[in-house]
Amino acid sequence: MSLTSYLLISLVLFVIGLVVMISRKNIVAILLGIELILNAAALNFVAYSRFVTNNLDGHVFSLFIIVVAAAEAAVGLAIVIRFFQIKETIHIDEATQLRN
């Protein structure tokens, strides 16, 4: 219940998010990993705001992180759907049109 425990949770969450992003080939799953990473960052902000500073700026930052995550998810998933309409798959390896 100290700052350490929250930071450890946040670190583990970040690493898991990274692993999800690297190891999955489904684009939606990669977006899931991004959500985990953003949440780890937001958790850090709130934890610091509680233990380090005496104001609630950290809460406001987490709020904006959540807002940006929503916008990111909306646009990202729209791109995934468009990609599926064109390629009939959401395998990340198929996204090769910009190569060469």
């Binding site: 690297i22 799953a29 709130v46 929503a70």
Partner: protein, 177 residues
């Protein structure tokens, strides 16, 4: 006592579901485990006394983003994709091969260990604070911060959301073939 229990419950829910997201083959199940992980994080926020952020987390993620992801999974083939999905144990890293995977893992391990060392010493500098019994409402303070200190970010976030709405609607809109 209760707060410790809540913390343990939320932390185990968060980490357990996050690991499940990484190792589940089925993308639909992954989304649901992500939901569990996000609810766990909301519980962690609650133990930090951040009630407004906790509820916002539930409102935006559970009510919005997860449903959007479930829709997107359905729109991109749903279950059909499962057989082709790669999981962590399938040993098919999307970037590089097994060799780069191993190097990355060892580097990550070193990174992790140094970070853990760093983090473990941090609570000596920032000892645990006791909550006072009368607690000012975070809602009021966040409201004041939003209209005073962070008013530009507040207004710009609406523009950001408008941009996201327009952009995503253009991208996702069904087209005449």
């Amino acid at each position: 006592m209760f707060v410790q229990l809540l913390f343990l419950l939320s932390a185990s829910l968060t980490i357990g579901c996050a690991i499940a997201v990484a190792v589940t083959k089925n993308i639909m199940h992954s989304c649901i485990f992500l939901l569990g992980s996000l609810i766990g994080i909301a519980g962690l926020y609650a133990t930090l006394g951040a009630d407004f952020v906790a509820v916002t987390q539930i409102m935006v993620y559970v009510g919005g983003i997860v449903i959007l992801m479930l829709f997107a999974v359905m729109l991109t083939g749903g279950k059909d994709f499962v057989s082709r999905a790669q999981n962590l144990l399938g040993l098919a890293p999307s970037m590089g091969n097994k060799w780069t995977y191993g190097v990355g893992l060892s580097v990550g391990l070193v990174f992790l260990l140094t970070n853990v060392k760093l983090i473990l010493s941090i609570s000596e500098y920032f000892p645990e604070k006791k909550f006072g019994n009368e607690f000012p409402s975070t809602v009021t303070q966040i409201g004041h911060l939003l209209v005073k200190d962070h008013v530009l970010a507040f207004e710009l976030s609406s523009v950001l959301l408008l941009g996201a709405l327009v952009g995503a609607a253009i991208i996702a809109r069904p087209r005449k073939q």
